[in-house]
C-alpha cells in the first residue's frame, strides 16, 4: 500500500496526542493522591500542559487527515455511519474527546481543578466542579483509548490486506500511542522542571518501549512467515499454473498506484532495525540515563522525543509500504 504522508502524519501525531490525553486523564485520576504532595500545583500545571500539547498534536493530525480526502469540505458526513464503519466511529470518538479535554483544560486554567475533590468543593461554579472532577479525567482516558482502538480497527478490519488484518495491529496502535504520549509527557516535565511523576514515568517509558519492541518483532515475524497460501484470485489455479501475460492497461492506474506500491520495500529489514534501535532502544537508554542522572533529564527528554517520534514515523511508513493488497494478485503478484 502506498504510504501517504498525510495519513502517516495523522496516525503518528494524533496517536501521540491521544497518548498524552490518556496520560492526562490518568494523572487527574491520581490527583487526590498527589494532593498532599508539595508539588501538587506543579502537577496541575503539568496536566494543563499535557492537555494543551495533546490538543495541538491531535488537531494537527486530524487536519492532516483531511488532506487525504478528495472532497474535504464534506468531511462532516463521515460522522454519520458509526453503526457500520470504523472510520466513522473514529471520527465520532475523536471529536467527543475534545469535550472532556476542553473542560479539563478550562478547569485547569480557571483553577477549578487543582489538587482533587477537596478544592473542587470550594469552587462555586458547578460546571467547573464537574470539569475538575475525576470524572472528566476518567472519561477522557476512556474516550482517547476508544479513539486509538477505532483507528487501529480501520486497518485491522480490512481482510484483503494480510499485513493489517491480524491480531498485532490493534495492540501496536494502542501501545505506540501511549508510548509516544509518555515521551511527550517526559519532555513537558523536563521543560517545567517538575519532578513529581518523573521516575515512575521513566520506568513506564522503558516498559512501553519494551512492549512495543516485542509487539513489532512478533508482527514482523508474522509478516515474513509464508502464511496461508495466497488466495487464487482468478480461480484459474484449478486449471494449472497461472501467469499474467498482458496487463489490462499500458500505464499505471489508481489500483496499481495505490496498492501496488513497491518502492524501497527491499530496505524493509534495515528500516525495521532502525525502528527498534532508534524508535524504542534510544529512548529506553535515555530514560535509564535520566533515572541514574536526574540532572540530565531535560535534554535527554528532547532527544527521546526526537528519536521516538522519528522511529514511530518509520514504523508507520513500513506499516503501509510492507502491506500487500489482494487485488495485486490479479496483476500477477505472488502473494497477497
Amino acid at each position: 500500500m502506498r504510504p501517504t504522508f498525510s495519513i502517516i502524519f495523522f496516525t503518528v501525531a494524533s496517536g501521540a496526542g491521544y497518548g498524552l490525553w490518556i496520560l492526562s486523564g490518568w494523572l487527574s485520576l491520581l490527583a487526590p493522591r498527589l494532593a498532599d504532595d508539595r508539588n501538587a500545583w506543579a502537577a496541575t500545571d503539568l496536566v494543563g500542559a499535557a492537555l494543551c500539547a495533546g490538543f495541538l498534536l491531535v488537531s494537527a493530525g486530524l487536519f492532516s487527515s483531511l488532506a487525504h480526502l478528495g472532497q474535504p469540505q464534506r468531511a462532516w458526513r463521515a460522522l454519520s455511519q458509526w453503526r457500520s464503519s470504523w472510520l466513522s466511529r473514529e471520527g465520532v470518538a475523536a471529536l467527543l474527546c475534545y469535550i472532556p479535554a476542553g473542560a479539563m483544560l478550562l478547569a485547569c486554567t480557571l483553577g477549578g481543578w487543582a489538587t482533587g475533590d477537596a478544592i473542587d468543593t470550594r469552587s462555586s461554579n458547578w460546571l467547573l466542579r464537574m470539569a475538575g472532577s475525576r470524572g472528566a479525567g476518567g472519561i477522557l482516558l476512556l474516550l482517547a483509548i476508544v479513539t486509538l482502538f477505532c483507528t487501529a480497527n480501520i486497518y485491522a478490519s480490512l481482510k484483503p490486506i494480510r499485513a493489517w488484518h491480524n491480531r498485532f495491529v490493534v495492540p501496536a496502535y494502542l501501545v505506540l500511542g501511549i508510548y509516544s504520549g509518555a515521551l511527550w509527557l517526559w519532555l513537558l516535565i523536563g521543560m517545567m522542571q517538575a519532578s513529581t511523576t518523573s521516575s515512575s514515568l521513566l520506568i513506564g517509558i522503558c516498559a512501553a518501549a519494551l512492549a512495543a519492541g516485542v509487539l513489532k518483532l512478533a508482527y514482523w515475524q508474522f509478516l515474513d512467515k509464508p502464511g496461508a497460501a495466497a488466495p487464487d484470485a482468478t480461480g484459474l489455479g484449478a486449471l494449472g499454473t497461472v501467469r499474467s501475460v498482458e496487463q489490462p492497461h499500458t500505464e499505471e492506474n489508481y489500483l496499481t498506484h495505490e496498492m501496488g506500491f513497491r518502492l524501497a520495500r527491499k530496505h524493509a529489514h534495515k528500516l525495521r532495525a532502525l525502528v527498534l534501535a532508534f524508535g524504542f532502544g534510544m529512548p529506553t537508554l535515555l530514560a535509564v540515563l535520566a533515572l541514574a542522572l536526574p540532572s540530565a533529564g531535560a535534554w535527554a527528554s528532547w532527544l527521546a522525543v526526537l528519536f521516538g517520534m522519528g522511529g514511530i514515523f518509520i514504523e508507520r511508513w513500513l506499516f503501509f509500504a510492507e502491506a500487500k493488497h489482494a487485488v495485486m494478485l490479479f496483476y500477477g503478484a505472488r502473494s497477497g
Partner: protein, 289 residues
C-alpha cells in the same frame, strides 16, 4: 446508510464466459463510453491523449497463460514450470529435454501441452455482503435493497478511498479529477431505462461483447437464463473464502482437445477418382498440401 439491507431476493449481476472471451476490451470501451455520459459520469481522464493517460475504467481485462495439468492433459505434460523467468533460448532448450513436448508436430517453438490463454474481464461483482459498503463513513456507498446493485452516491462521497482498500477485486477506482470514488453501476441507468428499446435494457458491456461472453440477469432467480448457465457450466465466484459472497459468476474455460494426439480422422473424403485437367490437378495438389 452503509449498513447492509436484508438479503435481497433479486440479485442482478453478470455471468462472464472465460471460454469465449477473446480479450478485445470492447466491453471496457463501451462501458467507459456509456458511463462517461450516463447518470454516474463523467469519467474524466488526466492526460488523455498524452504519454501517461490516467482515469477511471469500471472494466479491466487481464490476460493469463494457464499451463494446465488438468484439462487436456496427455500425461506427458508433467509438472508445470514454475520459478524464475527463462530466456527464449533456455525455453527452447528445455522444450527438447523437458517432458513438455511441443503440441504442434515439427514446430520449432516450445508450445507445452495443455497451455491456454485466458482473457479475464474484471469488474464489480456486486457482492451480497460487500465490505466496501460497510466501511464507508459517509453513507455514500450503498447496496440497493430492491436488486442488490452496489452504488456510490457521488454527491456524498468524501474521497477517503477506504472502500477501495476494502475491496479485494479492485472494483473501485478513485477519480483524481473529481475527488470521488467511482465504480460499476451495472448500468442501472440503462437496465431500467424506459426510453430505450427493451432489447437495449442491458449493461453496455453485455451489449457490446462481440462473442457474447457476457450475460446479464437475476442470479437470485433459479430459473433465469444466467442461473441456468451457471448451473450448466459450473460457474464460480471469485475468492469466496473472503466471505463477501460475490453475485457475479465466471464460467470456466471448457476442456481443451489434446493437440499432441493425432486428430481423430472423422470423415475422410474419398479421393477424387475422376481424371482432371492439369490445371485443376495442380490446384488440387496445392490445396492438399
Amino acid at each position: 446508510m452503509t449498513t447492509l439491507p436484508p438479503p435481497t431476493a433479486r440479485k442482478l449481476g453478470l455471468v462472464i464466459d472465460l471460454d469465449i472471451c477473446v480479450g478485445c476490451h470492447a466491453c471496457a470501451v463501451a462501458c467507459k463510453e456509456w458511463n462517461d455520459g450516463g447518470s454516474f459520469g463523467p469519467l474524466p481522464d488526466s492526460d488523455p491523449y498524452g504519454a501517461e493517460p490516467d482515469g477511471v475504467w469500471f472494466n479491466r481485462i487481464h490476460s493469463y497463460e494457464v499451463q494446465g495439468f488438468g484439462i487436456g492433459d496427455s500425461g506427458i505434460a508433467g509438472k508445470p514450470r514454475v520459478g524464475k523467468r527463462e530466456s527464449g533460448i533456455e525455453k527452447a532448450g528445455a522444450a527438447h529435454k523437458s517432458p513438455c513436448a511441443s503440441s504442434i508436430p515439427h514446430s520449432p517453438l516450445p508450445i507445452p501441452v495443455a497451455t491456454q490463454t485466458v482473457h479475464f474481464p474484471r469488474s464489480c461483482l456486486h457482492c451480497e455482503t460487500p465490505a466496501c459498503v460497510t466501511v464507508c463513513p459517509t453513507g455514500a456507498s450503498y447496496k440497493r435493497a430492491e436488486d442488490g446493485i452496489v452504488l456510490v452516491d457521488e454527491d456524498k462521497c468524501i474521497g477517503c478511498q477506504l472502500c477501495a482498500w476494502a475491496c479485494p477485486y479492485g472494483a473501485r477506482e478513485f477519480s483524481a479529477k473529481r475527488g470521488v470514488m467511482q465504480k460499476c453501476t451495472l448500468c442501472v441507468d440503462r437496465i431500467y431505462n424506459e426510453t430505450l428499446e427493451p432489447a437495449d435494457r442491458q449493461p453496455a458491456c453485455v451489449k457490446a461483447c462481440p462473442t457474447r461472453a457476457r450475460h446479464f440477469g437475476d442470479l437470485g432467480d433459479e430459473n433465469s437464463n444466467v442461473s441456468k448457465l451457471v448451473a450448466e457450466r459450473g460457474g464460480y465466484a471469485l475468492m469466496p473464502e473472503l466471505g463477501y459472497q460475490p453475485v457475479n459468476r465466471y464460467l470456466p474455460p471448457r476442456p481443451r482437445r489434446d493437440a499432441s494426439q493425432p486428430k481423430p480422422t472423422s470423415h475422410p473424403e474419398p479421393p477424387d477418382e475422376m481424371p482432371m485437367p492439369p490445371l485443376l490437378r495442380w490446384i488440387d495438389r496445392v490445396l492438399s498440401r
